[in-house]
Symmetry: C2
Subunit: 322 residues, 2 copies
């Protein structure tokens, strides 16, 4: 006998994530009551994952639960914000309890890792689709925006972009790899790590920041555009994982790093005067970011290799693109 919606919410989502003292009323009433701290801006993001669009049909339920929270946390990381609360809208074709239990565990594990309480939700029947809304805080006037970059600012990215796109291809059976590489790349797609600590520490350093979800080149272009500038990325400066290069070769790895999606890394700019302090206080080898380019006055996003401009016509993932 299927669980009713109310029993379902109760069983899987009432104790999801952490308990927080600033939740006056969580799951179970018409709405949640939350206590926002003084001196902070409230930061709000929303993102949806659709079966067969944002993850392959048959993807592990724990990954779907993890990713739908991770993509939202990544948006907060890009603002330099500290997450606090999440609301979940889950649409399911049926009540498969094993699936739900795994989904809730994947969601809850990541929520616990980042001190997030699930405070509200809605479960409905329909095609498999999950929407999460995350709320957090950032000290007033300290949020990292996309729009603060200036020509001459240096461009950095965390991690090794391109891994997740290869991991998705592995997951879909479109790409073969060594056992170790399969394990690493799949994990990079299925369980991305939102860069919360880095985002928070970049306050005061970064002039602009964006999370890399639709492909590094396109997202760096969006940051530059929001700042009224352009951006140049160095083809040879991209930081690549060994697993990616071993699996797809150097040229394809660089292409995936530039145009693959689902990285959930942070791309940020720093004024040249602040780079020394950044490297001292946040050592790149420990924080895992690298210099990949610079902001320029001329609009557009270009990739250069030894002075030559390269062509990457697919400049990022667009759900409705041609």
């Amino acid at each position: 006998m299927p669980l009713s919606e109310f029993a379902l919410i109760d069983r899987y989502f009432r104790n999801c994530g952490v308990k927080r003292a600033d939740v006056r009323l969580g799951v179970g009433d018409d709405a949640a009551l939350l206590d926002s701290p003084a001196g902070c801006d409230l930061v709000a993001a929303i993102d949806t994952l659709v079966d067969g669009v944002h993850f392959p049909h048959g993807c592990p339920a724990a990954s779907v639960g993890h990713r739908v929270l991770a993509v939202n946390l990544s948006d907060l990381a890009a603002m330099g914000a500290r997450p606090a609360w999440a609301l979940l809208a889950l649409t399911l074709p049926n009540t498969d309890e094993a699936w739900l239990s795994e989904f809730a565990a994947g969601f809850s594990d990541l929520a616990r890792a980042h001190d997030v309480a699930l405070v509200g939700g809605d479960t409905t029947s329909g095609p498999l689709c999950a929407t999460v809304q995350v709320l957090g805080h950032v000290p007033r006037a300290q949020a990292l925006l996309r729009s603060g970059a200036q020509p001459g600012d240096l461009l950095f990215v965390s991690g090794t972009p391109g891994d997740a796109a290869a991991g998705l291809a592995v997951e879909q059976g479109r790409l073969t790899a060594s056992e170790d590489a399969v394990s690493y790349l799949r994990k990079r797609f299925l369980y991305p790590s939102p860069r919360m600590a880095l985002g928070k520490c970049l306050r005061g350093f970064a002039s602009a920041c964006i999370d890399v979800s639709d492909g590094l080149l396109g997202d760096a272009g969006k940051l530059a555009h929001a700042s009224g500038c352009g951006v140049e990325l160095g083809y040879r400066d991209l930081s690549l994982s060994e697993a990616l290069v071993e699996t797809v070769g150097d040229a394809r790895a660089r292409e995936l790093a530039l145009t693959g999606g689902d990285d959930y890394e942070l791309c940020f700019t720093v004024h040249p005067d602040n780079v020394g302090k950044l490297r001292h206080e946040l050592p790149p080898e420990r924080w895992g970011y690298s210099l990949i380019g610079k902001i320029r006055a001329t609009p557009g996003a270009i990739v250069t290799d030894g002075g030559n401009v390269m062509d990457f016509s697919h400049s990022g993932y667009d759900h409705f693109g041609t």
Copy 2:
């Protein structure tokens, strides 16, 4: 040529709803930055509408835009909260610009009526499905909860429940009615009016409150259950619209009022000592609510007619019910 996701967001959603001074940063960055007022609790609700589940396939786009905001506003009304900001996650099978334009207009008109700013969103491709998250405020410790009712409290409901269920049946061609009744009932389903002013004014009067979305009997039962009580509804005390009775007859009208969904009215309880003041300050004939029952100590939700308990086995809409 289809609009890209970014152009689409820009064209239809950047100026949706009102502009508010407390929005530091709206649509267009990784997340929104919002300024919560001091002395208030933040109130957060999330709700999804799925094509073919929550509205019939082919439903006017303006209605879908209106309803996905209305169902969330209704949750805030039930808390006695004042809405401020909304985030929208919209999943679309294609970029039908006429549909999008109507959807945005339906959403925006209701947002403007209730001083709501659209501050963030996500548009993705997939089966038609819209999720809205609404944020609002209520003075600290003044929120209306489901859990505050006590045996002896009187039970009220706003409006005329049952109309929306009949309106849906009309919309789906399952029910015929006179021209005037068709117009009235369809509107009650397609364009529900969230009871924001009533919710706000019930602060200090209502001991408990819930919004009626899944059927009055079931929702009154949820309120009673959350309060550790039961509830008795008077079959003859239900307030019915003339259009509903004219269209389906008295008995079916009462059944729809008790078990139909999508009313988005407020069901609330008031201690007997406060009923005189309630009626004086919020005259029922002006505010459109009526006395329909009372809270009792015995658990469960019953309907009585002249002392006899009636059977309504379908006690509300449950998306996963048997």
